[in-house]
Symmetry: C2
C-alpha cells in the first residue's frame, strides 16, 4: 500500500518553477468556479506521518488559493464543549458549506489510528470506529460532498532522517518535540494501524491518495494536481443525476391494523387527577435533573405528531419543571440558507445537548421521512437512506450518555378538525392555523403510512418511540412527563 510512496520521488527545482504557477492559476480558477457554482463543498483531509509535510501542504493550499473561501481546521485535544458531546460532533461543526473548501488537518482518522498505535484501544474497537467512519463518509458522498483524502507518507528511515535534520537546523528545531520522537518509536505500530484503517476506508467514492513526503516539490505538485483534477472533474460534469433508489417498495398494508390505528384514543384524565399527577411528575423531573449522576447524561426529546396534536403545550409542561439554563427548545421549520448548504443532519447535530442538558425538539430530523417523504421534497433514495443515518445519529448520542426520548402525539382526524376550527375562532390562536394545515390534512393516509414505517425502522432499543394517545391533552401530557422521568431514572440506574 505504501510501496509507491517509498520510491524517492522528486521534482527538480526547474520543473517546479515552471509547473507551479500553472497549477496555481488553474486551482484558483477551479476554486472560483466552485464558489460560483455553489453545488457542492470540497473536504480535504490531510493525514500521515509526522514530518511528511502535512502542515506545509495546508499552508501551500491557502497560499495558492483564495483563503477567504477556504476553511482550515486543525484539531487539537477536544475542548470541554466537544468532550461533552459525541466524538463526531466537532467534525460536523467543521464541515464547509457548498461552494467552499474545507481543509481538515487532523480529523476523524487521527484519534483512532494514534490510539491504536499507542495500544490505548484494541483492534475490535478500531474496527468499530472504522465502521462509523465508513458510514459517515458514505453519507457525505450521498450528500454530494467531494471528499479527498491525502496521506503523506515517509518510510521509517526517511522519517528518522527528516526529524534529525529538522532538529539540527536551529531555525526549525522548535518544530520537533519529544512527542515527535515518541511517535517515531512507534513507527511500526502506527504504520500497521494506518495500513488497516486506510485499507478499510478506501471506498469507491473516496479512495485514499498516498503521497511520498520526502521531496517538497514532488509532494506539493502531487497534492495540488490531485485536488485540481478532482475539482475539475466534478465541476465540468453535468450535475450528477439523482441517485436511483434501489430498495424494494414500502410494504403494502395487508390488514387495517397498524401501530397508529391500534392506539386507544379514549384514554382520558380528569382535571383534578391531572393537576395532582402534573405536580408529582414535574417535581420528580426537577429532582432528576439535579441528580448528582445526571451530569453524565444528556436528554434529547423529540416531539412529532399531527398538526394540532398538542406538541407545544406538552413541551411547556416539561420546561416548566426545568431550570431555564438547562434546556433549549428547538423548533424545526424550513432550513435556513446556511443549513441548506450542509448535509441533512447538520442542522440537528448543531443542537446536540452537552452533558447535563436537555434539547427539546419541536419537530425534528424525522421530517425527512414524514413531511419530506409525503410531499415529495426528498427523493426516495434520500428518505430511504435517512432511516439508517438517523439510527446511527441516535446511537452516537446514546453512546455518549444521551437519553433519547421520542414522542408521536396521535389524535383522530375528527379531533384535528375540531381543533383547527377552534383555532380559527380564537383570536390569539389564529396564527397557529394556515392553509397548509388544511392541505396536509388531505394526505392523512399517506402520513399515517409514513409514521408506521418510521416507527418500524427507527424505534430501537437505544431510542424507542413512545406513541401517545393525545385525543385528551391532559392524558397526553402526563404520559409524556411520566415517560421522560422513567427513561431518565432508568439511565441513572435509580429505578
Amino acid at each position: 500500500m505504501f510501496e509507491s510512496a517509498e520510491l524517492g520521488h522528486s521534482i527538480s527545482k526547474r520543473t517546479y518553477a515552471r509547473e507551479e504557477p500553472k497549477l496555481r492559476a488553474a486551482l484558483l480558477d477551479a476554486q472560483y468556479d466552485l464558489f460560483q457554482d455553489g453545488r457542492f463543498p470540497v473536504v480535504v483531509l490531510i493525514g500521515g506521518v509526522d514530518g511528511a509535510g502535512k502542515g506545509e501542504t495546508v499552508n501551500l493550499f491557502n497560499e495558492w488559493m483564495d483563503p477567504r473561501h477556504i476553511r482550515t481546521e486543525a484539531f487539537g485535544p477536544p475542548s470541554d464543549e466537544e468532550r461533552e458531546r459525541p466524538p463526531m460532533w466537532r467534525y460536523w461543526r467543521a464541515l464547509p458549506p457548498k461552494g467552499k473548501i474545507g481543509i481538515l488537518f487532523g480529523h476523524w482518522y487521527t484519534d483512532p489510528v494514534i490510539a491504536r498505535a499507542y495500544g490505548d484501544i484494541r483492534q475490535p474497537e478500531l474496527v468499530q470506529r472504522v465502521e462509523r467512519i465508513v458510514n459517515f463518509e458514505r453519507m457525505l458522498a450521498d450528500e454530494g460532498v467531494l471528499l479527498l483524502k491525502f496521506w503523506f507518507h515517509l518510510s521509517k528511515q526517511a522519517q528518522k532522517k527528516r526529524l534529525t535534520s529538522l532538529e539540527k537546523d536551529s531555525s526549525t528545531r522548535w518544530r520537533i518535540s519529544d512527542t515527535d520522537w515518541e511517535h517515531f518509536r512507534r513507527y511500526d505500530k502506527f504504520r500497521k494501524a494506518a495500513e488497516f484503517t486506510l485499507r478499510e476506508t478506501s471506498s469507491d467514492s473516496s479512495p485514499w491518495s498516498i503521497i511520498e513526503g520526502v521531496d517538497a516539490n514532488y509532494r506539493s505538485l502531487a497534492a495540488g494536481r490531485m485536488l485540481l483534477a478532482a475539482m475539475r472533474r466534478r465541476l465540468d460534469r453535468k450535475p450528477p443525476r439523482k441517485r436511483e433508489n434501489r430498495a424494494p417498495p414500502p410494504a403494502p398494508a395487508i390488514d387495517a391494523r397498524n401501530v397508529i390505528a391500534a392506539l386507544d384514543l379514549t384514554h382520558k384524565l380528569d382535571r383534578r387527577k391531572y393537576e395532582n399527577l402534573l405536580d408529582r411528575y414535574q417535581a420528580k423531573l426537577n429532582s432528576l435533573s439535579r441528580h448528582p449522576r445526571f451530569n453524565r447524561h444528556s436528554v434529547t426529546l423529540v416531539f412529532e405528531g399531527q398538526d394540532a396534536a398538542g406538541k407545544g403545550s406538552t413541551i411547556r409542561r416539561i420546561n416548566r419543571a426545568l431550570d431555564a439554563r438547562q434546556y433549549r427548545i428547538i423548533p424545526i421549520a424550513a432550513p435556513t440558507e446556511e443549513e441548506r448548504a450542509q448535509p441533512y443532519l447538520w442542522r440537528f447535530w448543531r443542537h446536540v445537548p452537552r452533558l447535563g442538558r436537555f434539547s427539546i425538539f419541536d419537530r425534528s430530523w424525522y421530517g425527512r421521512v414524514l413531511v419530506e417523504r409525503v410531499e415529495g421534497f426528498a427523493s426516495e433514495f434520500d428518505w430511504m437512506r435517512a432511516y439508517s443515518e438517523i439510527n446511527e445519529f441516535e446511537e452516537q448520542l446514546a453512546e455518549k450518555g444521551g437519553i433519547v426520548v421520542k414522542f408521536w402525539l396521535a389524535i383522530s382526524k375528527e379531533e384535528q378538525y375540531r381543533r383547527f376550527r377552534e383555532r380559527e375562532k380564537t383570536a390569539f390562536k389564529r396564527f397557529k392555523i394556515t392553509p397548509e394545515d388544511w392541505r396536509n390534512r388531505k394526505k392523512w393516509q399517506a402520513y399515517e403510512a409514513a409514521v408506521c414505517e418510521m416507527v418500524d425502522r427507527t424505534s430501537t432499543d437505544i431510542a424507542p418511540w413512545t406513541l401517545v394517545e393525545a385525543e385528551d391533552k391532559l392524558y397526553a401530557r402526563i404520559k409524556v412527563l411520566k415517560t421522560v422521568c422513567e427513561r431518565i431514572e432508568e439511565a441513572l440506574g435509580s429505578r
Copy 2:
C-alpha cells in the same frame, strides 16, 4: 422495531381465499418475466423467531411459483468442505444466477445472531461480523441483485403459545425439539441481538421487512405481496442506469518514478546456480507442504504479468514441487455463461482452496482493475469498487488461515517484443501468440498505470504484492519460489 409485528395482525379465511389466487397468479407472472428478462437474480432471506412460520413460507413460495426456477437452500451445520473455507464461502455457492430466485432459509445472519444470543461471541465480534455482512450486501446491490430480507417475528408470549400448541397436537409434535425450547429460554437475548443486527443492516438498498408470524393468512399474504411488489418494481422499470463513479480521477503521474519503473530488470541468474537453487527451493516447498501444521492453512497464489512474462513456466516450477492431489491450477480466461450470471467475484470464490491445499491462479480477480479497466469492459464505478471488494475477499481468506501470495511478473517492452517474435517463429509456441497480444502491447502505458494503482490499493499487510523482475526467466522463477517458501514458513511460525 418490532412494534408493528406485535399487533395481532390477521386476515380472515374468506379474504385469504379471495386474495390468494390473485397473488399467486401475479407471482407466477413475475417469475416468468424475471426468467425471460434474465437481467438480475432475486435473493430472499427468510429469518426470524422459531415457530413464526419461516418454513411454511418457504414451502408456500415454492408452491405458488415454479420451483424449477427457484433455488431453495437451507443451511444446517457446515460440512467439512465448508468448514475449511471462509464462512461466507457457502453463501457464495448458494447465490442464484440472473433470472432465478434463491430462497435462503438460514443464511449469513443466522450464525452471528444465535452465537450472540448464546453468548458464544461478544458484542465487538458481532459488530465485526455485521460489518462484513454490510459490505457483502452492498456488493450484491452494486451487482444488481434484488435482495429481500424477511424477518418473521413473534412476541415472547406468542412464541410460547405457538410452541405449546404445536407440542400438544400429535400431528405436529415432531416439529418441536428441545432446541426450540432452549431457544425460547433465550428469547430476550435473541431479540436483543436480532434488534441490533437488523438495525445495523437495514440499508437503503435492502431494508428488512418484519412480518408478524402469528396468523398464517396474514403472514403469507404479507410476504407474498412484498415479494411481488419488489419484483414488479424492478421488472417494470427501465434497466437501471449505469452507476456514476463518484471518485476523484486516478492520481496523475507527477514524475517518471513508479513501482514498475523502479524495478531493476538486469537481475540475472546463470543456469548452474539456477539449477541448484531450483532444487533447494522445490525441496523446501515440498517439505513445507507436508509440514504437520500446514493443514491449518491454505495457499492462494496469484500470477499476473504482461503477456509473455513467463507466468505459465513459473507456475510449472511450483507445481512440480507439489503432490498433484494438493493443488489446482486455475487459468482465468473470459467468464463462462454461468459465471456471467453471477457477481464478479463468484467465479473466484468457487476456487478457494480447502485447508492444506494450493490454488494457483494464472491471471485472477485482478483482471477487473487491469484488462477490464484499460479496455473499458468494466465501468469506472465497477473497477473502482473492485479494490475494496478484493481487499475484503483476501482478508476473508487470510482469516481462515489462507496464505495469499501475489506476483506481478514484469518484463520490458523490448523483451516482450523479442518473446512475441520468437513465439511466432517456433511452431509449438505459435498458439501462444494472437493478434490480441499485439493490440494489448499498444496500451503499454495504460497497463502500467493500472498496475501501479493496483499495487497501491491492494498490496496490504495481509496480502502483499511481490513484484518480480522477469526479464531473466531463471531469476524470476527462483524469486517466486523463494517468496512462496518464505510466506509459508512465516505462517507456520517456523522462521
